[in-house]
């Protein structure tokens, strides 16, 4: 396949316009029925300079996709935070969700091992094992774990959730396992969210992370989070 000037241009445009879409197809998806593998490490890069203060597209998409947010007591798997730097007065808008740490406090503290980190980096709650003790909710530095305290009805088929268990952002693991993007990334109109495989050096996200500075939230805790932010 020869990459002429028009094709290169198309490639460049694809990287800029459809963040992640090109990149997930680049990494060959797992054969159906196979387990998650450590040869992938899913990362999310959020460019806060492209994140609008009033926009909640990612939040709305997640609610629609995962089915949370009906009762008022439901915790927000993703939420928008408006931050003002106290020393300078600069304001920034950013989405906050489970940071899918490589050293997750929630996994360490879970008494039954229900809170787990998959081989490809996604931190999940195995609701079959969760006893609802809420220790993971206590432990999370980002308040990204929540407890379901009311009966759940009309769950999404791909996202079982139920009363008495803990939950949080799954990085749309059901979509990833089918080779698709997380709902929030797809919904972001401003192009602020870039998703991909950190272990693929050719992936757009790897290139973007090498090219421009980014930070992880509460980096001093040594969590090695999969979510990184630019513009903070």
């Amino acid at each position: 396949m020869s990459a002429g000037p028009t094709r290169r241009g198309l490639l460049a445009a694809a990287i800029a316009v459809a963040p992640g879409l090109f990149l997930v197809a680049n990494a060959a998806p797992r054969p159906p029925g196979s387990a998650a593998s450590a040869r992938n490490r899913w990362d999310l890069l959020i460019d806060t300079t492209r994140c609008d203060a009033g926009c909640t597209a990612c939040v709305d998409a997640c609610r629609q996709e995962q089915g949370w947010g009906g009762p008022a007591s439901d915790g927000p798997w993703i939420r928008k935070i408006e931050a003002i730097e106290m020393q300078t007065g600069r304001s920034v808008s950013l989405p906050l969700m489970c940071q899918h740490c490589a050293e997750p406090p929630c996994v360490e503290v879970c008494p039954t091992g229900a809170s787990l980190r998959r081989a490809d980096g996604i931190v999940l709650v195995d609701r079959h094992r969760c006893i609802g003790c809420r220790y993971c909710v206590m432990a999370c530095p980002f308040a990204a774990r929540f407890f379901v305290d009311a009966e759940v009805h009309d769950q999404r088929a791909a996202t079982p959730r139920g009363k008495g268990t803990a939950e949080g952002c799954t990085l749309c693991v059901h979509r990833l396992d089918a080779g698709r993007l997380p709902a929030c990334v797809e919904a972001c109109a401003g192009g602020a969210m870039l998703f991909g495989d950190l272990l693929d050096p050719a992936a757009g996200i790897s290139q973007a992370l090498r090219a421009r500075a980014s930070t992880a939230l509460r980096a001093e805790l040594g969590l090695d989070a999969a979510i990184r932010y630019q513009g903070l």
Binding site: P71, S73, G75, P76, R79, K80, I81, E82, A83, I84, E85, M86, Q87, V92, L96, P105, E108, V109, C110, P111, T112, G113, A114, R129, C130, I131, G132, C133, R134, Y135, V137, M138, A139, C140, P141, F142, A143, F146, F147, V148, D149, A150, E151, K163, G164, T165, A166, L217, R218, L221, L232
Partner: protein, 390 residues
């Protein structure tokens, strides 16, 4: 030394009303737990900001007091103080009963208590919480054996060994309970190496306070009346332990106040946090430590009042630590002011509900019912106390 104990022969006119009250509290707690499980925790005051509330305050108090209630027995068996030997069986019984009450509340509050079997079969070895469950259940067994060596004459020669094992076990247990909070690196209001010794000191003070109250209560019901010398000795010990407990709280806050990044936690709990400073200064410091110390060292015969205040102060201390600590907003972006629909950047509020209060109270009811049952069935109590200290 052989311990010759007697069973409690309670005065009926006083015991039945008490049993009635404890039964109502127990029934209320069980009903609350059932409702919480079937309808979900949204009926309580707990929410996604304050996930551990009043039931946990009561449970942690009971567990911490259980460890400390064993103190009298330890002092007798391990350190050989003869004058406390007559109280050792009651001390051990109280320890088991208090722990059972606390553990019951913890289990009943779970989101999925029906999955207790899962919790037993799957244990994450890195979870301090999982370790604590083992330590709690093991404590009941260890102290049970310890009590048995005291009650069965032929086994009395093993009491010292059992006492040492129980002493070490309870120190590990209380360290583990404090570490549930102290190990949480991501929560500024909890992460501290001082949490473990703070809980050990609190357990000694609260445990002895509860023990004094149990002793006084049993005397009212028809058990042996502690003599003045014993009361004074226990009272003095209580005073020292209450002061030690406050010492660790002092060290914790001084350390927080010293560094710019942790100052905010201390300011919140001691000054700006609304209810929390009131509870800390009024509840923990004044009523929970200063007044009891005055009662114990400046007044005679006020041990029961002092013990009541120390115990209430201990309950308040755990509430400030646990709920106040959760109310303090997480510092997700140090140096930034945060706002969100989830309340980031602001302190969380908590209003306890009736189901939670009943559930917490039922833990105390379970503990007291077990003490009464144990005293009635086993030769736990001394028939009388000596007038002359050993």
């Amino acid at each position: 030394m052989a311990i010759s104990g007697v069973t409690l022969v309670p005065s009926a006119s006083r015991t039945w009303p008490l049993l009635g009250l404890l039964g109502v509290l127990l029934g209320g707690g069980l009903a609350s737990a059932w409702t919480m499980e079937t309808q979900g925790h949204h009926i309580t005051g707990m929410n996604n900001h304050i996930v551990w509330g009043l039931p946990h305050v009561c449970a942690i108090f009971l567990i911490v007091a259980a460890s400390g209630a064993l103190n009298v027995a330890s002092v007798a068996s391990v350190f050989g103080v003869e004058s406390y030997k007559k109280l050792s069986p009651l001390s051990a019984l109280a320890a088991i009963a208090l722990l059972a009450g606390g553990l019951a509340v913890l289990v009943l509050d779970l989101g999925r208590p029906d999955r207790l079997v899962v919790a037993i079969l799957h244990q994450n070895p890195f979870s301090i919480f999982a370790w604590n469950i083992l330590l709690y259940t093991g404590f009941v067994a260890v102290v049970g054996v310890y009590l048995w060596t005291m009650l069965v004459r032929r086994q009395n020669r093993h009491t010292r060994t059992a006492g040492v094992v129980a002493l070490v076990w309870r120190l590990v247990l209380t360290t583990g309970t404090g570490s549930i909070f102290g190990f949480l690196a991501g929560r500024e209001a909890f992460h501290s190496a001082v949490m473990a010794p703070l809980f050990v000191a609190a357990s000694l003070a609260n445990g002895l306070a509860v023990f004094i109250l149990v002793l006084a209560g049993l005397a009212v019901l028809g058990g042996p009346v502690p003599d003045a010398a014993l009361r004074r000795r226990l009272g003095r010990l209580l005073g020292i332990l209450a002061a030690a407990s406050l010492y660790f709280a002092l060290v914790l806050h001084l350390t927080w106040l010293y560094a710019p990044d942790s100052r905010a936690v201390s300011r919140f709990l001691l000054l700006e946090g609304g209810a929390w400073p009131v509870l800390f200064w009024g509840g923990q410091v004044l009523l929970g430590t200063a007044v009891p110390l005055w009662l114990l060292f400046r007044r005679e015969g006020r041990e029961v009042a002092a013990a009541t205040l120390v115990a209430l102060g201990g309950l308040v201390q755990i509430a400030v630590l646990l709920i106040g600590g959760q109310a303090f907003p997480r510092t997700i972006l140090p140096g930034w002011q945060l706002h969100s629909t989830f309340g980031d950047g602001g302190a969380a509020t908590y209003v306890p509900s009736l189901p939670e209060a009943l559930l917490g109270a039922s833990g105390f009811a379970i503990a007291l019912l077990l003490v009464l049952l144990g005293c009635r069935l086993l030769r736990i109590l001394p028939d009388r106390f000596a007038e002359v200290p050993a």
